[in-house]
Structure formats: structure tokens, C-alpha cells
């Protein structure tokens, strides 16, 4: 019945629904990381962002990262939704919910997921500026291990 907890979508993210679908009766806390479009970057006034993803791989990587976090910190369910398309200032680009029996682990796991997301999940963004023009935002080069395959 439920959608996958790891998804790339063009639709606005529904924080309340995501909390509802992630928190189980054995959880005492959930932490929601809510990444939003800022009105400024590197001193330039930003009007909007355009996100693009390699959706099938991004979803697989989000699942992989969440699995690592759950294993390491013993949290409950984790859900991650990343938006693509044009987002205005103040709109959420990413939401990460970590549900957990105890709160300390939720903080650690949430932090891990957002840091890893920024390093390995194939998503890109192009900033549109108030004074016109647009530029791809420089990112992280994913580490590729020799001999993995």
C-alpha cells in the first residue's frame, strides 16, 4: 500500500504525511531534516533552483545510505524524499525522516544521511539568480572504488 520510503518526485513534499508513514508505535522520536531553497548563495540573490536527478539510481542510493544508518545506529524506519524540477525560495528540496526508539541515535543517523546524500546521490541543481542567469552548482565528485565490481 505505502509508497517506497526512498523517492524522487516532482511534487511538493508533505512533511506530516512522511512523518506518519515512517513513525512506528515502538518509536519515541523522529527527526525531520527539511532542506529548503535559500534566497542567497555565495553573495548572489537566488530566485529559484532547478533540480535534476538520475532518479532510479538516486532512489537506490538513498535506500543504501538509509540501510547503513539503520545498521550503524539501530534506528527505526528512515524515509527520504528528494524533489526535482523548479523550486522557489522557501520550498523544500529534500526531507529526511529518521524514526527511532531513542533520540540520540536519530540525530546521528539523520546527520549521516544528509552528509552522504550530498556526497553520493546523483542529484544536481542549477541556481537561477534574481539578476538573471543561471549556473550549475559545483558539487562533490563521488568516490568510486577500484575493483568493486
Amino acid at each position: 500500500m505505502a509508497a517506497s520510503p526512498f523517492r524522487v518526485t516532482r511534487d511538493p513534499i508533505d512533511a506530516a504525511a512522511l512523518l506518519r508513514e515512517t513513525v512506528a508505535p515502538s518509536d519515541g522520536a523522529a527527526l525531520l531534516f527539511w532542506g529548503v531553497v535559500r534566497n542567497e548563495h555565495g553573495g548572489r540573490a537566488v530566485s529559484h533552483l532547478e533540480y535534476e536527478a538520475y532518479a532510479s539510481m538516486a532512489e537506490a542510493k538513498l535506500r543504501e545510505i538509509a540501510g547503513e544508518a539503520r545498521e550503524r545506529w539501530g534506528t527505526g524506519e528512515i524515509a527520504v524524499v528528494h524533489r526535482v524540477g523548479r523550486l522557489e525560495v522557501g520550498e523544500a528540496s529534500v526531507a529526511i525522516v529518521v524514526a527511532s526508539p531513542h533520540r540520540a541515535e536519530a540525530y546521528e543517523a539523520s546527520r549521516y544521511v544528509i552528509e552522504q546524500l550530498k556526497r553520493r546521490v546523483p542529484v544536481w541543481k542549477r541556481e537561477g539568480y534574481v539578476d538573471g542567469g543561471a549556473e550549475w552548482v559545483p558539487g562533490f565528485t563521488p568516490a568510486v572504488e577500484e575493483g568493486v565490481r
Binding site: 532542506g35 533540480y51 535534476e52 536527478a53 538520475y54 532510479s56 539510481m57 538516486a58 537506490a60 528528494h82 528540496s93 529534500v94 544528509i114 546524500l117 550530498k118 556526497r119 553520493r120 546521490v121 546523483p122 542529484v123 544536481w124 541543481k125 542549477r126 550549475w136 552548482v137 559545483p138 558539487g139 562533490f140 565528485t141 563521488p142 568516490a143 568510486v144 572504488e145 577500484e146 575493483g147 568493486v148 565490481r149
Partner: protein, 83 residues
């Protein structure tokens, strides 16, 4: 027997390729490195592709030495900037 792989391009790499996707025919023993060499030679825009770009084969990051198979999906991944 030659094989065909699907090459996908995103963000700045799509700008270089001038396309989302290219079908490339390669010798049966080709690696990712061979594909990169082929692409950099075949299309003028792609000459600007780094000689060792990050690549994913069938949704998993893969080194340049990876042997390809017919029908593989090979994505060229510019530095990522999600979040």
C-alpha cells in the same frame, strides 16, 4: 560480436553531449574506459568530458576498468549537488 550500451548524460555532461542518452556500439571486450575514449572522440562536445569521469553501470558506481556487457546502462555522473 559487438555490443550496444546505453550512455546517459546529466547536468553539465548533458550540456556537453547535447543529448540525454546515446546508444554506443563497442567491441565485446570493452571496458568503461573504452567507452569514455570512444565518446570523447566521437562527439566534439564530449571531447570536454574528463578522461576519468565518475560513472555508474546499472545504477552502481563503477571503476573505469569495469567490463561492459550488451545492454548495460552507463551513466556519466558529474559532481553531485543534492540536498
Amino acid at each position: 560480436m559487438p555490443m550496444t550500451v546505453r550512455s546517459l548524460f546529466f547536468a553539465t555532461y548533458r550540456d556537453l553531449a547535447g543529448a540525454d542518452e546515446l546508444l554506443v556500439e563497442l567491441p565485446a571486450t570493452a571496458t568503461v574506459e573504452d567507452l569514455v575514449r570512444e565518446l570523447r572522440a566521437a562527439r566534439s562536445g564530449l571531447a570536454a568530458l574528463p578522461p576519468a569521469p565518475a560513472v555508474a553501470v546499472n545504477l552502481e558506481y563503477a571503476p573505469l576498468s569495469t567490463r561492459l556487457s550488451d545492454g548495460d546502462e552507463v551513466a556519466f555522473i558529474p559532481p553531485v549537488a543534492g540536498g
